[in-house]
C-alpha cells in the first residue's frame, strides 16, 4: 500500500492533473493547426500537457516527501459565502439593489457564529446605507433600488 506522505500536495496534484485533462479535452475539440500556423487549440493543448506533467510531478512528490496534514475545511463559511454571493447576483436585477444587499449581507452574517441579533440588524442597516451612498449616490450605479 503506497503511503500518501503529503495529503495537501497529493490533492493539489490531483487537482492539477484533473484540470489538465479537462483543458486538454477542450483544446482537442478545436482545430490545432500547424506549428507555423497555430490553430486556436494549439497553445491551450501545450499548456494543458505541461500542467498535466507538473500535476504528476506534484503527486509523485507527495508520495515521497512528508508534509503537514490537511487542516479543517470551513464548510459553513464556504457554502454560506458562496450562497450569499450567488444570491446577490440572482436578486439584484430581479428584485433590486436594496433586497439584494439586505439578503446577501444577512446570509454572510449567518456564516459567522459571533453575531447577536441586534448587531446583525445594525450591520445590515449600516451597510445598506453605506453602499447606497458610495455606489448609487456617489458613483451612479445604474440599478433599481426595488424591482426589475
Amino acid at each position: 500500500m503506497i503511503r500518501i506522505r503529503d495529503p495537501k500536495n497529493f490533492m493539489a496534484g490531483l487537482l492539477f492533473t484533473g484540470l489538465a485533462i479537462v483543458l486538454a479535452f477542450n483544446a482537442l475539440l478545436l482545430p490545432l493547426g500547424t506549428v507555423s500556423q497555430m490553430g486556436p487549440g494549439y497553445f491551450p493543448l501545450v499548456l494543458a500537457v505541461i500542467l498535466g506533467g507538473l500535476g504528476l510531478a506534484v503527486i509523485i512528490d507527495s508520495l515521497r516527501f512528508e508534509g503537514g496534514p490537511l487542516s479543517g475545511f470551513e464548510w459553513r463559511g464556504f457554502l454560506l459565502i458562496t450562497v450569499a454571493i450567488v444570491t446577490f447576483g440572482a436578486t439584484i436585477n430581479r428584485f433590486g439593489f436594496i433586497p439584494a444587499v439586505v439578503i446577501s449581507v444577512g446570509i454572510c452574517i449567518l456564516a459567522s457564529t459571533r453575531f447577536r441579533p441586534v448587531t446583525a440588524i445594525a450591520l445590515i442597516a449600516f451597510l445598506l446605507v453605506f453602499c447606497w451612498v458610495v455606489f448609487i449616490w456617489g458613483l451612479g450605479l445604474p440599478v433599481r433600488l426595488f424591482g426589475r
Partner: protein, 499 residues
Amino acid sequence: MELLDNLRLGFSVALTLQNLSYCFIGTLLGTFIGMLPGLGPAATVALLIPLTVTLPPVSCFIMLAGIYYGAQYGGSTTAILLKIPGETSSVVTAIDGYEMAKQGLSGKALATAAVGSFFAGTMTVFLLVFFSPPLAKFALKFGAAEYFSVMVMGLIAAVTLSSGSVIKALAMVVLGLSLGLAGQDIYYGEYRLTFGLADLADGFDFVAVTMGVFGVAEVIRYLEEKSGQSMVIEKLKGLWLTKKDLKQIAWPILRGTGIGAILGVLPGGGAAVASFASYSIEKGVASDPSRFGKGAIEAVAGPESANNAGAQTSFIPMLSLGIPANPVMALMIAVLIIQGITPGPQVMIKQPTLFWGLVASMWIGNLMLVILNLPLIGLWTRLLMVPYHCLFPAIIIFACIGSFNVSNNPFDVYMLAVFGMIGYIFIKLECEPAPFLLGFVLGPMMEDHFRRALLISNGNFMIFVTRPIAAGLLLVAALALLAMLIPTIRRVRKEAFKE
C-alpha cells in the same frame, strides 16, 4: 533637455485640480480599504478598478497608483496597531512595530513608517524617471520572440522568488495562463473554454477572478477561526520623532530604499522579499541585535522603506516592458488593455502624458500620504476598533457590487462566487494565488507573441535560440529554474521564507 520637458509635461498633467483630486481620493480609499484585515493591495486595487476604468487613462492610473500606495500604507498601519499584516511585505513591520505599540510608542512607529515610505517613494521616482525610458527604448527592438521570452522569464522569476513549492507555483502559472485564454481566440474567433455561454465570450472577468481568489477566499479562511479572537489595539500615542529617532532611522531608511529599489524590479514579490531582506540586514548591522523582535525602530524603518521602494520600482518593468512584477502590476496591465492601450515599450512613446503624468503623480501621491495619513491616523484607528466579524460582510458586499458594476451583469457576480470557492481550495491546498493571477493576465499576450514568433520563423522553434536577446532571456529563466533544484539553494530559500 528632453527630460525636463517630459517632467514639465508630467507635472502639468498631474497638477490639474481633477487629477489631484483623483490622486487624493485614490490614496484615501486605498488607505481605508488597505486597512481592512484580509484585503491586501491586490484585492483592494481589484475592488476599486471598476471605479477607475470610466475615467480617461491618465486620471485612471493616477488614481490606481494612489490606491496602491494607500493600500500599502494601510497595511503597515494595521501591522503596527493590530499585529495583523495587511499583506506579506508588512509581516516584519507587524513584529517590531507592534512591540513598539505595546510599549506606547505606536506614534513613533507609524511616523517612522510614514517618513521611511515617503523617502523611499521620492527616491525611487527618480529611478523610474532615469531607467524606464532607456529600458523602453531597448525593448523597442523586441520582436515577438523577445516579448514571449521576456514574459516567460518574468513568470519564472516570479515563481522562484515567491515562497512555497516551486513546482506547484509553476503549475499555478500554467493554470492561470490556461484560464486566461478563455474567450474568443483573436485570430480565428473560435470560442475557447466558454462552455457555450455567451457571457464568457470575453473570458473570465479579471476583477471577479482577482476579488474571488484574493478577497473572498481570504474571508472564508478567516471564518475558520472560531475562537473569540479579540483584537488588541494599542492606543495611539505621540506622533513625533525626536532627533535621536531620526538619527537612528536614517541609515536603515537609506539601506531599505536601496534594497527595495533593486528587488522591486524583479518579478515575484519584490516588495515582500525586500522587506525581509532589509530586516535581516538591519539586524545584522545593528549594534545591539537583541533589540530586534522587541521593538527596534530600525526594524520598522528599514523594511517599510524597502517595502515602498519595491512597490514603486515594480512599475518600471510594467511601464517599460509590459511585464508585471507582482499581482498589482498584473492588474494595471489588465487595466491598460481595458483602456485600449497595448502594454509594452510603446506606451511611453504613444502615451507620453500617461507615463510622465503617472510619474509626477507618484511623487505627489507619496506627499499626500504623509500629509494625509499622519493627522488622520486617529480616525483610522477608531475604524479598526470595529471587530473584524463586522467587517467581513462589508468586504463580501463590496466585492459583489464591484463585480456587478463592471458590466452590469449578474454573471460576473456568479464568477466571483466560483473563483472565491476556487481560491479557498487553493488556500487549503497551499497553492499560491499570485502566480496564478500573473499567468491569467499574461496568457493571451503570451500566446499572441508565441504564435507570431512561430509564424515569422515558419514553424522553426530555433528562433528562440538564434535571436540573442530571446535566447538570453530564456537562458536566465532556465538557470533560475535549475537553481531551484540545487539542494543548498532550496534550503536557503526555505529558511528565508520561514522567518
